[in-house]
């Protein structure tokens, strides 16, 4: 969370710097752009009880196509994994059996979303935006007791509001950077706990990557 605040502070400074340095009208509003981002996930709520560690193991590929009035439509497709080792734990069966072994948990996710976005000043060097992703996820929740793997597969519906910014590498550059933070709410749940219930997995995602703008 602190990293997100720091990045957005830098972004705000960049915006001011860019505007102060260059008030030229010679820029362009892209017709569309593609992004490829490295994604870090911070689990929240019940999801955080399943896996508490933040995870940088993920990426998102997206595309946006501008319509009228700075609105854009597009998609996001990604891959993400959160994982944590819980050391030795004992699991008891009802038949007199018990097993003590290293307990490792991870969730592997493939999110897919349709996105609607609004850009503030898409022709500027730094173009902040807000967006809403609507779609779903394919998730696998794994509980590894030693190398014995118990897992559940679940599909879900999810909503992802996001704030971010595109930063062009020059007024007429096709390449730029993207920084964004989003909150994801899903209908997914984890059913591998015998003694607790998890519903509506939630997470924060920090995206940092490249964008390619097309005129």
């Amino acid at each position: 969370m602190k990293k997100a605040i720091l990045i957005f502070s830098l972004l705000a400074l960049l915006t001011g710097f860019a505007e102060g340095q260059d008030k030229s009208d010679f820029s362009f509003k892209p017709a569309s752009y593609y992004t490829f981002s490295w994604n870090t996930t911070f689990t929240m709520g019940d999801f955080n009880k399943w896996v508490g560690n933040a995870s940088p193991a993920g990426a998102v590929f997206g595309g946006r196509y501008f319509l009228a009035n700075n609105m854009a439509l597009g998609f996001d497709l990604g891959w993400q994994r959160v994982s944590q080792s819980y050391g030795y734990q004992t699991f008891y069966g009802t038949d007199g059996s018990a097993i003590t072994a290293t307990n490792y948990r991870f969730t592997w996710m493939v999110p897919f979303q349709a996105v609607v976005a609004y850009h503030f000043g898409p022709a500027k060097l730094v173009s902040p935006y807000v967006s809403l992703g609507i779609g779903g996820d394919y998730m696998e929740h794994h509980l590894l007791v030693q190398e014995y793997d118990a897992y559940k597969v679940r599909w879900d519906f999810s909503l992802t509001p996001e704030v971010g910014a595109l930063v062009k590498f020059g007024n007429f550059a096709h390449w730029g950077a993207i920084v964004a933070l989003n909150y994801k709410w899903t209908t997914n749940k984890i059913e591998l706990y015998n003694d607790r219930k998890t519903d509506h997995l939630q997470m924060l995602n920090l995206k940092v990557g490249l964008c390619y703008l097309i005129r």
Binding site: F61, G96, A101, E147
Partner: protein, 212 residues
């Protein structure tokens, strides 16, 4: 140019999506020991008073099965005994007709199949009941043991046998089984081995002579 870039992004995304879902550090899980236990839930372990334990470990191997004893094995056997004594049982010699007998075996090589009933019960793979002073008897499981298709090298098997209640057809029940994977591979210290033995007893609180 535009097409190439779209293709580049598509390839990159496919590459990312094909990344392994399993974290890299899960590969180390096979190196850690597992302590698996199962006991006969219908049994009252307070009915027993004495126990005896084998004086060496029976190594299971297709080539050179035999019985072995070294300081590490001695320490392991002593740890099992001390746990039993702490639970209220009295240790006696194996030829003094104990109520309970404890056998300890270790798998020396990999790809060994285990099936129910215990494949390793016959000589030289196990301690024949003759060792305990009961020639002509056999063993059986009163509960359905977990099927284990292969043992890794160094896996330890401990069985607790009931000599107090033989069946009419001369069989003794194995009332408690312990399987500790990879315990004697050389990758664990004596302290870790002791801890694994203690854990087997900790997760089976039913095995005790006294009610406290």
């Amino acid at each position: 140019m535009k097409t190439r870039l779209i293709l580049l992004f598509t390839v990159l995304s496919l590459g990312i999506l094909s990344c392994s879902k399993y974290p890299a550090d899960t590969g180390r899980l096979t190196e850690d020991f597992v302590v698996y236990t199962k006991y006969n839930t219908a049994n009252n372990f307070q009915q027993y008073t004495t126990f005896a334990i084998v004086d060496s470990i029976d190594y299971i191997s297709p080539k050179d099965s035999g019985r072995y004893l070294n300081p590490q094995i001695s320490g392991l056997l002593e740890r099992i005994s001390s746990n039993m004594v702490a639970r209220g049982y009295t240790k006696v010699s194996h030829d003094q007709q104990p109520d309970l007998g404890i056998t300890v075996s270790a798998v020396k090589t990999t790809t060994t199949t285990v099936y129910y009933p215990g494949w390793y019960w016959d000589d030289p793979g196990y301690y024949n009941p003759y060792y305990w002073g009961y020639p002509g008897y056999g063993y059986y499981y009163p509960f359905y043991p977990t099927y284990i298709s292969s043992y890794s090298a160094g896996s330890l098997i401990i069985d607790l046998i009931d000599f107090k209640n033989p069946t009419p057809d001369n069989k003794y029940a194995v009332e408690w089984s312990v399987f500790i994977r990879a315990l004697l591979t050389g990758n664990h210290t004596d302290s870790q081995i002791q801890t694994a033995i203690d854990q087997a007893f900790t997760q089976t609180p039913a095995i005790k002579k006294t009610s406290k």
